[in-house]
Symmetry: none
Subunit: 192 residues, 4 copies
Amino acid sequence: MSPRTPEQFEEIREAKRALILDTALELFANEGFFKTSISDITKKAGISKGLIYNYFESKEALIRTIAFNGIDNLLKNFDPNSDSILTKEELQYFIEQNFVILQKNVYFWKLYFGIIVQPQVLTLVEKELMRLFIPLYKMLENYFKSQGKKNPAAEARFFGAMIEGVYMNYVMDPKYFPIEDIKQKIIDLYIK
Amino acid sequence: MSPRTPEQFEEIREAKRALILDTALELFANEGFFKTSISDITKKAGISKGLIYNYFESKEALIRTIAFNGIDNLLKNFDPNSDSILTKEELQYFIEQNFVILQKNVYFWKLYFGIIVQPQVLTLVEKELMRLFIPLYKMLENYFKSQGKKNPAAEARFFGAMIEGVYMNYVMDPKYFPIEDIKQKIIDLYIK
Amino acid sequence: MSPRTPEQFEEIREAKRALILDTALELFANEGFFKTSISDITKKAGISKGLIYNYFESKEALIRTIAFNGIDNLLKNFDPNSDSILTKEELQYFIEQNFVILQKNVYFWKLYFGIIVQPQVLTLVEKELMRLFIPLYKMLENYFKSQGKKNPAAEARFFGAMIEGVYMNYVMDPKYFPIEDIKQKIIDLYIK
Amino acid sequence: MSPRTPEQFEEIREAKRALILDTALELFANEGFFKTSISDITKKAGISKGLIYNYFESKEALIRTIAFNGIDNLLKNFDPNSDSILTKEELQYFIEQNFVILQKNVYFWKLYFGIIVQPQVLTLVEKELMRLFIPLYKMLENYFKSQGKKNPAAEARFFGAMIEGVYMNYVMDPKYFPIEDIKQKIIDLYIK
DNA sequence: AATGAATGAGAGTTCATTCAT
DNA sequence: AATGAATGAACTCTCATTCAT
């Protein structure tokens, strides 16, 4: 008869919040942000339409939260120190980590591509996403400079574009894309 | 004041059709398919809302036409003969052609990425787009086989993914992406 | 830690009830009935959303209670005996009392005008409000009749309308409305 | 078969616009702005829900248009020249005009009171409404000054408040409010 | 061939109210 | 007595599409 304790409420909130985020991520990733209605999300999550606004201010706030969560989660796995220069072994580890992360976060990467290819749509999110990759590019640039490359910035951008292309092809067709062979190919290319 | 000949009518129709397609392509590419309303297109094209349905059955038919036109236009520039095997010189030409086409069709490629990253959205279009690239992949596979590569299919997919990654980075940031350096880098990589 | 007596419970209930009524009055008056949500009230009162329904059946019941309380409180200050006929001195006192009450209950009067100008909205409340003014009108009518006025009913309604107009202007702009001058003007007008 | 001429379209638009404005004014006046939904308006006007947005940007734009139209229409009947000073005869005409206007625009005045008593709701409209009455107050002030009144500003505000009170009582109960008697009473009061 | 007024389904969002605790 | 998560109906607004002219 007595009300739930604040801790109980907090538990409920956390669980429900996570349910909404997970459901929304899956739908946004698979169906696209615009094709996914709030109704779609609440139906799949088994909650009422109103409840989602108890947890998120708006549909855009929802995707922004998802995007930032994803990036946070991502960067935890990298922690690139852009000042120190990578050794070849560390680059190999970095590449391999990339593939681990890719395969563990397919939904997130689908969403990521859905966002970046429509810049005007979610400007804020997109700008933030970009900014988060800057340290990674810096790190790569430093590495290529240390390797005596003539144009380390271009090398870094090529590396990034290549990885992004591989990511995109994988998330679009994870079943048949020869991800292992391609990982090996990239390692051979950069680690000799 | 004399009545128009059937040929003149046809000319007018063709011009209007092209106007609609061009306008829609630009808007779809820059603003995204969902953010672009039929009204946006007719306003920018200076025509009435009804007229667009005189030429296209629906908004989806419109984007499908644009996508197919783009692909057609694209393949004209390649005309890959998947039976004959490329020489190294031909591959170099193929790569260079790729970059020419990329830079000549930025709008189309923006649209392309907008479409493929949301498969469920425009299933038909996406399926067709994929199918059109099969001969190119076949051609690449044959080439890598002729070069004695162990896994020519994976090599082809890697090549395709890499190109796609470069394309995507270029269309998102054509001003600063070091496209020339990267073209050279790819040529060096594959042509030695 | 000793259990509370029934009297203490009653005290707590009364205090909570008053808190809700005061908070709601202020918000209804300043922001309007429709613009004020139950959430707004509970937030400002520092209570939970459920609690308000422990004290009031519905949002409409809440405003109805507020309106009736206000009127009760008002009439206590007048206690017009509609049978006995006012002297000039008593009318002057009545007028002066009016201005005291106006300045002491600005929130209530704001709410009052918010309610009466939208009759269909809160029919019940509005009907009740009207009914409560009948004795005042009767009293005024009697007074004007005793003063030999040809049309005492019209005189009473004019008096009422004038007062209402002054009230409305005051609550809308209490800082700059020259309330004292106007009180004097009315006294001069009716008391000679 | 040929499309309507621009003139025909203009005619249609004007007629429909007027229908929407009239319907909305009646509903806003009688039921209140918040109680009246866009659906209520379109249902009563016999049009589809979407159409209203072909003519007005939003519900607020709709009430703003109605309010400004009403004021425009009103001021046309006054055209107060705030520099020249009214004679007694002109003041009498002004008062009589007031009552003509009141009785011809009952819906507008209901709406007017609905708006001004909820200042926070439609700030913009309300501010504008107020501004439009300034010349009238100025004119009254000048008149009372010319009559040798000690406090012409307060006299003007009292006059305005009294008129407003009468207006409000009339629109709330036009059937029984003794408007003619009260008009005479005011004329007697001010014209002697 | 061309117009744009009109439709209506469905979107995102709000909020009075309920209810398990 | 008290909590706040949860509901669902109703809201404002959008937009692809239709159709009379």
